[in-house]
């Protein structure tokens, strides 16, 4: 190693640590506040530790907010994933007339700010007596569809249909081809798009606020309400951690499972796979 490469290595290491700090830093005060009972300014660390934030959040109906968020996330995933998958399938193999306009239509919600949709739609939904949950689900589903469609389109682009012919020649029925070949092969992409759709519902604020009509007090809504008052940092921090934890756990689980699968497959086929959650180019946010 000569001096030049050493200096390059030092720069690279410094960059890596800076980047780590960039991603990590904003969450540190959240974690500190979550376990702070009292933390008067200007102390750099809490003067009294405890879980009062979590307890306060719990007493302030955090559980029902958690449940409401869970319902919205799950509904969005359940609605947008199959819709996106079917649309992607049709776009990939259907040779549809107006293929291009349909593609643009399905990606369009990603380019329309949610508040525009919600403000315009609110009164219409009320006038049509659409129940709040149905209204929220509809809008969240439409917001998630660009992402699920995108993920599934890239999955179909890399999907070799001839394996289905192979299965058919080996005696598989149409149903068996679907359940034994197509779904298992597309499972990672389906999981990714379901996860992204879940995130859309899980983290939404303005759609739930305006269309929900107060019947869905989700974690983000509770956080926004708490953030509008003074001295609520422990509750905000506790709610934030509560809100960030489930998707993270989900992500870690999916990651571990797919790694296991990959390992099992790797023994049969040494081609390296890109992890499913990374091929999700469209929509991770």
């Amino acid at each position: 190693m000569n001096r030049r490469t050493t200096r390059a290595a030092v720069t690279a290491t410094a960059t890596q640590w800076l980047l780590s700090a960039w991603f990590l830093l904003p969450m540190i005060p959240v974690m500190l506040w979550a376990v702070a009972r009292t933390w008067p300014a200007p102390l750099p660390l809490p003067s009294d530790w405890g879980f009062s934030g979590f307890l306060d959040a719990l007493h302030d109906s955090a559980t029902s907010a958690f449940g409401a968020s869970l319902i919205l996330g799950t509904l969005t995933a359940v609605l947008a994933t199959p819709a996106g998958a079917m649309a992607a399938y049709a776009l990939a193999y259907g040779h549809l007339r107006g293929h291009r306009s349909l593609s643009v239509l399905l990606i369009a919600p990603a380019f329309v700010p949610p508040f525009v949709i919600v403000m315009g739609l609110n009164v219409t939904l009320l006038r049509l007596h659409v129940p709040s949950l149905a209204g929220i689900s509809l809008v969240l589903m439409v917001t998630a569809i660009p992402y699920t469609t995108f993920v599934m389109r890239s999955a179909f682009a890399g999907y070799d249909v001839t394996v289905e012919d192979e299965a058919r020649m080996l005696g598989a029925s149409t149903r068996a081809v679907l359940t034994r070949v197509r779904l298992p092969l597309l499972a990672p992409a389906l999981a990714t798009s379901a996860f992204l759709a879940f995130l859309v519902g899980w983290s939404d604020y303005i759609v739930t606020l305006l269309i929900g009509g107060g019947q869905f007090v989700t974690v983000p809504i509770r956080i926004a309400a708490a953030a509008s008052g003074t001295g609520n940092e422990p509750v905000i921090a506790a709610l934030s951690i509560t809100a960030a934890a489930p998707p993270l756990l989900l992500l870690v689980t999916v990651g571990l499972l797919s790694r296991q699968r990959r390992r099992r497959r790797a023994s049969a086929n040494p081609v390296t796979h890109t992890p499913a959650y990374l091929t999700a180019s469209g929509a991770l946010r």
Partner: protein, 278 residues
């Protein structure tokens, strides 16, 4: 053929309905066709009113600036992270883990977190022992720093993962091929890595830009009272106690959508061209 049409309907119909109804109703309400009180009348008064109030132009400028700066930072940081993720062990383990962990955090929480970090009484100010009002005004300051940082923080993780997914396939090997053909580090970056990442950068950058342009909760929590970005302005007019200004809220909303769509469509075109030449 028919089967394929049926398959696309579950996605296409709700999308068309929701977008169509939202835009139609948005236009109608911005033109005073369905007022809260009084009879309907059709006019562009709301547009001229909001334009002449002197609030629309600054809102457009501020929204575009915030989105532009935030996206630029997000692209720079995200691209660097993607490079580290695809070329180094530390990057592929630690940085990837951190970036992925950032993804599921809702923007509302991101905003709260940035507030706890950067506010005048935030953690950094406390760490640096700054109490005398000399802490840089990130939150609610004239430069919208906290708002920009929040977008840049969340979106850089998003961009990093999208770009890394693109680069992970061949970019490292292609860069090495270029090295063997005589390309130094700068030339490899300029002629190989950058062009390979460009389509993904355009796509992810545009999504980030449009998001920053149209999201309400972050500037609302971290921004200042005046002047306001487009979503905050629209929301304030929408929830104003003065019912006369509601059409103006929809006018602002329609202007925002027009800007977002123009940017989205041009970016998609650019993306297509990049992909075609690539």
């Amino acid at each position: 053929m028919k089967r394929f049409v049926l398959l696309i309907l579950p996605a296409a119909v709700p999308t068309a309905l929701v977008l169509g109804a939202a835009v139609t109703m948005g236009v109608a309400q911005s033109m005073g066709l369905t007022p809260v009180a009084g009879g309907p009348q059709s006019s562009l008064d709301a547009y001229s009113a909001v334009a002449s109030s002197g609030e629309l132009a600054p809102a457009v400028v501020i929204s575009l600036s915030i989105a532009l700066v935030a996206t630029a930072i997000a692209i720079a940081v995200g691209f660097t992270t993607a490079l580290a993720m695809t070329t180094t062990r530390f990057g592929s383990k630690v940085l990837k883990g951190l970036a992925i962990s950032t993804i599921p955090i809702p923007h509302v929480i991101g905003a709260a977190a940035i507030g706890l970090l950067l506010a005048d009484s935030g953690w950094l100010a406390r760490l640096f022992g700054s109490t005398a009002g000399n802490w840089p005004q990130f939150v609610a300051g004239p430069w919208w720093a906290a708002t920009i940082i929040e977008y840049a923080w969340k979106e850089s993780a998003f961009i990093a993962l999208v770009v890394a997914a693109t680069l992970s396939r061949d970019a490292d090997e292609l860069a090495k091929t270029a090295a063997v053909l005589g390309a130094g580090p700068a030339a490899r970056m300029r002629y190989v890595t950058m062009p390979l990442a460009t389509p993904a950068l355009i796509l992810a950058g545009t999504l980030s830009f449009v998001y920053a342009l149209g999201s309400f909760e972050v500037p609302w929590l971290l921004g200042r009272a005046y002047p306001e970005p487009l979503p905050v302005l629209a929301y304030r007019l929408f929830t104003s106690t003065d019912l006369e200004v509601r059409p103006q809220a929809f006018a602002v909303s329609m202007v925002t959508m027009a800007i977002a769509l123009v940017i989205g469509v041009s970016a998609l075109r650019l993306f297509r061209r990049q992909v075609v030449t690539a």
